[in-house]
């Protein structure tokens, strides 16, 4: 069994919308995978199944051999400590500075201050934001804010980094820089990356494995470098 397995998953929301239908993927440890598709094709729904924000209506989701669909709601935090999550809208706490934002997951776990500091500094160094530790989110550019999020997501050294359109709010230049950071994490730490996007330039340039969703159905699974985006995404 691979690190991540999605098996025969259906996601039908309460309002009757079918976001995913009979979905199957399997992702190896250390892989870098793009999930692409139009808006409302079901990318975020797939991501939510992975970090167990939603349960599939039918089917199984395995992360590291564990069936996360069986995970009780109040145990979900254990999974979240093993995976990092990055969003389009950053989700930073505006009243905390950069250092405190990155330290936040460790603080809430009750880790000692003296242990927190080196970890936070290391994470911030990895995303190239060490000089701005005292700034607050509203004093940072979009790209810088996203770096803070990546540092926070990586603070527990997760095996998997889930990114839901991390460059969706950023200009092409900044997007490139963010992709460089994510690529580095994949190469240097061996972290498995799963990234939803509809930025065809990024997908074309990076030449990674590409999974295509159309209307909630798996429409293609291209090995590293085999995918060539056309105009439609």
């Amino acid at each position: 069994m691979e690190l991540i397995e999605v098996k025969n998953c259906y996601k039908i929301y309460k309002n009757g919308v079918t976001a995913l239908a009979d979905f199957n993927i399997s992702i190896k440890k250390g892989d870098f995978v793009f999930i692409i598709g139009h808006t409302a094709s079901g990318k975020s729904s797939l991501m939510k199944l992975l970090y167990r924000e939603e349960k599939p209506t039918k089917g199984k989701v395995y992360i590291g051999g564990i069936d996360v669909t069986k995970l009780r709601n109040r145990k979900v935090y254990k999974l979240r400590r093993k995976i990092g999550i990055v969003f389009q809208d950053f989700k930073l706490l505006n009243k905390l500075n950069v250092f405190e934002n990155v330290a936040f997951p460790l603080e809430s776990m009750g880790i000692k201050k003296t242990e927190i500091k080196p970890k936070v500094l290391k994470a911030l160094e990895m995303v190239g934001l060490k000089e701005k530790i005292h700034s607050f989110p509203n004093q940072l550019s979009g790209g810088e804010q996203q770096r803070v999020c990546i540092a926070r997501a990586m603070i527990n050294n997760p095996k998997v980094l889930i990114c839901d359109e991390p460059t969706g709010n950023l200009d092409p230049e900044t997007s490139k820089e963010i992709m460089k950071v994510i690529d580095n994490i994949n190469k240097e730490m061996g972290t498995t990356i799963i990234m939803a996007t509809h930025d065809k330039d990024i997908v074309n340039r990076m030449k990674k494995r590409v999974i295509v969703i159309e209307h909630g159905v798996l429409a293609g699974d291209y090995l590293k470098g085999k995918y060539k985006a056309n105009e439609s995404i």
Partner: protein
Amino acid sequence: MKVFRILVRNIKSAFKSVIRNFSLSFASIICTTITLILVSIAIIITANVNNFTKDLENDLTIMVFLDRNASIDDANIIRNELEEIKNVDSISFESKEDVKNEMKNESEIFNTIMDSWTEENNPLQHEFSLKVKDATIIRKTANQIKKIEKVDSVKYGEDIIDQMVNIFSVVQKATIGIVIALILVTAFLISNTIKLTIFSRKNEIEIMRLVGTSNVVIRLPFLFEGFILGIIGAIIPIVITIYGYMIIYEKTGGYLFSSMIKMIKPFNFVFQVSILLLIIGAVVGMISSYRSVRKYLKV
């Protein structure tokens, strides 16, 4: 150590939140204060009524009158039988002679009339007066005594006593009902306050959940916040309880309604009530906040 660090961090954040959402916290503290004052009044009334009813019950006496032809020996046998009855606490006996002498001492007229009475033609009766252990079954005990041979009649002021005991038990039940209703109102108010502070921190909770904070830890600051609100809300009621009760006690001399109801002494009573208010405030605060976070936690 880990638990301790988490606690300290969350107590700090709870205090910050109370101050940051000051107007909201203030509103719920005021509500808690008003409710706890009413709760305090209800508790004081209940406790005093309870105390008074107990006093009354302790004073209940059963009078047992023997047949006119009963001798002192008969009386001794009856005494033994009375001692067998479980609910009988203490027994005291007055013979015809004792009663006669007592009455003679009371007035000159009795004195001259009764002088002529001898042991044989004394129309008075030997009598026992009994204290009971449990006043609620006094009627049963009285009936039991009536069946004993050579017992003429049994009296315990049944009508008045029964009525009094009934009225006070109704008053007591009503006050307990009011106390419970008021506590529920407080819980509702605090829970609404916490819901609003939670709403203003919805983002924070979402982020906490995403980065792997356990539900227990997410709840902590709100639990502390409810606790703090409850405790602060109890301060004024406690002050009012202590001074208010002491002043009333002093002004009335410890008796209400022309010395019919004896009040409970202020010490330690006021402190017991204060501690109760503090506990009610804290517990109600914590429970209501615990319940209001639920919705955002997916538990």
